[in-house]
């Protein structure tokens, strides 16, 4: 296969000529792990812009719904880059981790010196808890996910993809090369772990 410089502008005039992101995704799918950072850096600025615009214009309650942001970004990008529906889940998988970073960075910058009520919260419907709902403090959540990543990277990926990318178990399984049942199990364990840590945090904090 002819090796294209992936950061070239997309070839014009060929409907099936893949855009840069598509090419990166293809390489990533074929197991080229190095491409990951490149891929994220490629769409990071746009993703960030979208998150900021959304925050500024819409979220008076300082709540972000990451899946909606990522999904919206995909639709925008798909138009420019000739991304196919098939590349969607791969794209979302990549974007979900980036999205988490962006939201956390954004929340940090925003929250510095802010009162509790005006701090940014992230709405994760998948992580709704009976006694606390689905709103998470960005920094707290990030810290937990970083710890989980250090413990068991695949579970952290599953949480990212599901909560930030809005992917299904089937899609996540396809990306990670495991079956959907495994993903579901990872998810349930990860969720129980997160809940346990959150609860512990509360107890610790109280004590």
């Amino acid at each position: 296969m002819k090796k294209a410089n992936v950061l070239d502008p997309p070839a014009i005039g060929q409907p099936d000529a893949p855009g840069a992101v598509t090419l990166l995704l293809q390489r990533w799918r074929t197991g080229d792990g190095d491409v990951e950072a490149e891929l994220v850096s490629h769409f990071y600025p746009d993703l960030k812009r979208i998150a900021q615009v959304r925050m500024r214009t819409e979220r008076a309650d300082h709540t972000l719904q990451p899946t909606a942001l990522v999904s919206e970004f995909f639709l925008q990008l798909a138009k420019q880059e000739h991304l196919t529906w098939e590349s969607r889940s791969h794209f979302l998988a990549m974007a979900s981790t980036a999205m988490r970073r962006i939201l956390i960075d954004y929340a940090r910058a925003h929250d510095a010196g802010k009162r509790e009520g005006s701090r940014i919260r992230i709405q994760l419907d998948d992580l709704a808890l009976p006694h606390r709902g689905s709103l998470y403090d960005a920094a707290e959540l990030n810290e937990l996910l970083d710890r989980l990543e250090a413990e068991e990277p695949r579970m952290a990926k599953v949480v990212d993809m599901r909560c930030f990318g809005g992917l299904t178990h089937e899609e996540i399984g396809e990306i990670l090369g495991v079956d959907a049942r495994t993903v579901k199990r990872d998810w349930q364990v990860a969720r129980a772990w997160l809940f346990g840590q959150l609860r512990k945090g509360q107890v610790d904090g109280a004590g």
């Binding site: 014009i12 060929q14 899946t67 998948d126 009976p130 709902g133 689905s134 299904t168 199990r185 364990v189």
Partner: protein, 925 residues
């Protein structure tokens, strides 16, 4: 914990979580006998596992949603976004993976369906409402039971339904900022809402929860905003009202403000309770406050059950009296005292006398025909009759009418004398043209029975055709653009109609409105028997419209109407009865045979479908119409048109054009004054390269009927092929003025701009046209315009245009793929192949074009593709002599696509070739 230990943890966790709580610990201990340090972490995880909703009763209340983004419901609908939560469940935006479009998905909360049969009822009603289609109803697509296990790990079934995703504001939020609405605006919305509600009622569906927050002012295709009724068949608690009456948990589902008293009292719902809610809705729209002021739920109950509403006029100063009566009648405490049907309410709001008459109890209904008060055809109604307030008691109406009945009788006796003064004959009309414009809406088929479609469209078309014959009357068809009109009135008068049906009867109501003040100029209802006599029906409508226009215009010019003038009018009607309609100013009816006419309108209806099958069936119908009445010129002209239409689909067949010509000639012979006949003859002559004759026929057709937009559009195409573009665009402008909402005109304009090599202008026009509903042909032209613009530019612009061209090609390819998955066969020839081949070649990428070119060649070999299309491609490949071969072979049987030979920019590289010049000469272009 080490990674392999995590795998172990997961495994044990997964086994244990399925066990009853009491057994979990021992299971974990025995499974981890060799690794006791894992026991506590696993038990800890299990303790934090969300096991079931029963154990976590608060989960429902606090978990934001039942579904999560990314969930795939029913293997098909992928949740994209959470939109809102209501009492009945949550609404999401979802993406239909199999049909590639966005839908709204509502997940219902089972715990709120308290009645045991609620789910059954719900499902049944969804199934029914899925079949109800009305432009003011939110479309319901599917009912799915979503099994969701993963979040709460017990299997739960969530009933979901998918429906049209409406983007717009709810009426509730509009009213919040802008209330009361002006009467005309309210009426417009109520007509739309009422239409939707009627459609439900006709199918036996009760809305149950009609209120402003269930009406969405949505932007649908064409950017038209329309009031759309949603959430029918459900009973739902509105969030706002829930908050308002939060302390009273024990209230019934539904919005109490808008609910009928019998519903509040016993939970009983019926059509009458919807009528009540509709009345509340009207009240809400046009008054400043509510009919039942209440600060708490019990207070509201009390007011609704035991008190009378505060009359709307007390809460709004400028409300017309008949609106007040209408609202109050809707709000009658006893269901049987309310209006029976929604259309009666609308009639009453519009000041239509006929529904009023039925209003007083005890008056026998006459099955949809005009009731006693409405004079039979031929007897002049009192001109201002329509303006009499709605709730006028019957007795006083009779008193008003009496002197006029007497006058009419007197006139009948004096017919011979009065015949002389009867003024509106054709010549009289010519002397004194009405000089006005009527916009004619398609009569809507609200019966949802497809077998009535042709009655509606046929009646619309024919009434319009005949009105066009009246000198001075300009007719603007608002075909398929009904919804534009309220916002964009283009003419002083509107003619509108609807066909409605229930088990017993079918009623066609038609009305003429004065757009100046929204008043009703004329309206009438026709029962099944009269609808069956299609020709009389059209005659009647057309005549009455003209007569009503004359009255209204005369009344405007002289505010005071003398008795002499009235007498004249009555005389005219009497004369019509005696002389018959044949000599009326409307011109002759197209046929005398109702059967032939019926076949004809069925054929016209099929022609609208624009598919090979429908066109072939149309041919048969027109043939039968012509057998029924051999002198039916219009049927003959249509038959010619259908034969031409067939040539679009079939392999080139010289027989078709011969037949078309034969019937066009026949049509002209049968009725030399029939513009339709001359227009179709012209287009055939054009295809036969008989330029002089074609031009003469076009001009003759347009002389006979200057407002005939379609003929003008065809004519524009004809003159453009000779390079007379300026003239052509002039005609298109005029055609657009005559038929402002005709999509075909801008499509033609775009194509001709492309042929004039004004690609960028073509893009502008075609982009707009393609916006709402892009037919493949339009998309192809748009793609070609982009490609041409790209071809002629440099740098970034070139890149951008090519990109856009390919996007259009991909869209067409996607549409063709949908067609293929639907029918199982590849469309041949493929428009997408043609586009891809051309665009790749224009972009200088011959390699990429190759597979498409091969496919096109194959289609050409099978005689499925026009050689002219292939010639365009060969030109781009630089194979000029091959292109010329193809064009010459096309010329042998006068391929239609050769008509633009002389001007097409896609053949520009051939211009210098002697063979090309010879071909142009051969065609005498």
């Amino acid at each position: 914990m080490a990674p392999d230990e995590w795998e172990r943890v997961k495994l044990v966790f997964d086994i244990a979580r399925r066990l009853p709580k009491a057994e979990r610990e021992s299971a974990v201990r025995s499974l981890c006998a060799d690794a006791p340090h894992l026991v506590d972490p696993i038990l800890d995880l299990l303790a934090n596992h969300l096991s079931s909703t029963i154990e976590n009763p608060r989960l429902y209340a606090t978990a934001a949603t039942a579904l999560s983004c990314g969930d795939v419901v029913g293997g098909r609908f992928k949740i994209v976004r959470f939109i809102a939560a209501g009492g009945m469940g949550e609404v999401y935006e979802a993406f239909d993976l199999s049909l590639n479009h966005r839908v709204a998905l509502k997940a219902l909360r089972l715990d709120l369906l308290t009645e045991p049969d609620a789910l059954v009822r719900f499902r049944r009603e969804i199934l029914i409402s899925r079949d109800v289609s009305h432009e003011s109803l939110c479309r319901v697509y599917d009912f799915i039971e979503h099994e969701c296990e993963d979040s709460y790990d017990t299997v739960r079934r969530v009933p979901c339904l998918t429906m049209e995703l409406l983007e717009g504001e709810s009426l509730a939020s509009v009213l919040e900022s802008k209330r009361p609405l002006e009467i005309p605006e309210a009426l417009r919305l109520l007509r739309e809402i009422g239409g939707g509600l009627s459609a439900l009622h006709d199918r036996g569906i009760i809305h149950r929860d009609l209120k402003p927050s269930n009406i969405v002012l949505a932007r649908r295709r064409n950017d038209v905003v329309r009031a759309i009724v949603t959430d029918f068949g459900l009973a739902k608690i509105d969030e706002a009202e829930r908050n308002l009456f939060e302390s009273h948990a024990n209230f019934r589902a539904g919005a109490p403000f808008f609910m009928a008293p019998e519903t509040l009292r016993t939970g009983q719902v019926g059509f009458a309770s919807d009528i009540y809610s509709f009345g509340m809705l009207i009240d809400e729209m046009v008054t400043r406050s509510r009919a039942f002021p209440a600060r708490s739920l019990p207070e509201l109950y009390y007011a609704k059950l035991w008190e009378s509403p505060i009359p709307p006029s007390k809460r709004s100063s400028s409300l017309p009296e008949h609106w007040e009566r209408t609202i109050l009648r809707c709000l009658e405490p006893a269901p049987e005292d309310r209006f029976e049907r929604v259309c009666d309410i609308l009639d009453a709001l519009e000041g239509n006398i006929k529904s009023t008459a039925r209003q007083s109890k005890g008056l026998p209904s006459t099955g949809g025909t005009a009731v006693a008060l409405v004079p039979e055809r031929g007897v002049e109604p009192v001109p201002q009759l329509a303006a009499i307030p709605t709730a006028q008691p019957r007795a006083s109406l009779l008193r008003r009418q009496a002197p006029w009945a007497a006058a009419a009788a007197a006139v009948v006796c004096g017919t011979v004398v009065l015949g002389v003064v009867a003024y509106p004959t054709r010549t009289a009309a010519a002397r004194d043209p009405l000089a006005t414009t009527i916009e004619v809406f398609d009569i809507t088929n609200e019966t949802r029975r497809a077998e009535y479609n042709h009655v509606c469209s046929g009646t619309t078309q024919e009434v319009m055709r005949r009105l066009m014959n009246v000198e001075g009357v300009r007719v603007v068809p608002l075909r398929a653009a009904r919804a534009h009109a309220p916002a964009r009135t283009v003419a002083p008068f509107s003619l509108d109609g609807a066909l409605q049906a229930d088990d017993k009867r079918t009623v066609l109501s038609v009305s003429l409105t004065d757009n100046k003040d929204g008043s009703l100029v004329w309206s009438e209802r026709f029962d099944s028997a009269r609808i069956g006599r299609a020709l009389d029906l059209q005659e009647n409508i057309a005549e009455n419209v003209v007569a009503a226009l004359q009255r209204r215009l005369a009344a405007r010019s002289s505010q005071v109407q003398g008795p002499a003038e009235r007498l004249t009018r009555v005389a005219w009607r009497v004369r019509q009865v005696l002389v018959g309609p044949s000599d009326s100013l409307l011109g002759r009816p197209p046929t005398r045979s109702n059967a032939a006419f019926d076949l004809y309108t069925r054929g016209r209806e099929l022609m609208e479908e624009i598919s090979p099958e429908s066109t072939t069936s149309a041919v048969t119908l027109f043939e039968r119409a012509l057998q029924e009445d051999p002198s039916f010129a219009l049927a003959s002209a249509s038959l010619a048109e259908a034969h031409i239409g067939r040539m679009n689909y079939n392999a080139p067949d010289p027989g078709s054009i011969e037949k078309a010509r034969q019937y066009a000639d026949l049509a002209v012979r049968l009725d030399p004054e029939l513009a339709e006949a001359h227009a179709v003859l012209a287009s055939i002559q054009q295809m036969q390269w008989d330029w002089t004759a074609a031009e003469a026929s076009y001009l003759h057709a347009l002389k006979l009927k200057p407002g005939y937009a379609r003929a003008r559009r065809w004519y524009a195409g004809y003159i453009a092929q000779n390079g007379r573009f300026q003239e052509a665009f002039e005609h298109l402008r005029r055609a657009l003025a005559d038929e402002p909402f005709d999509r075909a005109t801008p499509t033609t304009q775009g194509f001709l701009l492309l042929m004039a090599d004004k690609a960028e202008e073509a893009i502008k026009v075609l982009e707009e046209t393609v916006e709402g509903r892009g037919a493949l042909g339009t998309r192809r032209n748009l793609g070609q315009a982009y490609a041409r613009a790209a071809y002629l530019s440099q740098g970034a612009k070139r890149k951008l245009y090519f990109e856009k061209a390919f996007i259009e090609a991909q869209r067409v390819a996607a549409a063709e793929a949908r067609y293929q998955s639907k029918t199982g066969e590849r469309p041949r020839p493929s428009v997408a192949d043609e586009m891809f081949a051309q665009f790749h070649l224009m972009a200088g990428n011959a390699g990429a074009a190759e597979p498409y070119v091969r496919r096109l060649q194959r289609d050409l070999d099978h005689n499925l593709l026009s050689p002219v299309t292939m010639a365009w491609v060969e030109c781009l490949r630089g194979r000029n002599s091959r292109a010329l071969d193809l064009l010459e072979s096309a010329a042998n049987w006068k391929d239609r696509r050769l008509l633009y030979l002389k001007v097409s920019p896609f053949l520009e590289t051939l211009r210098g070739e002697p063979r090309f010049k010879a071909l142009v000469n051969r065609m005498r272009l």
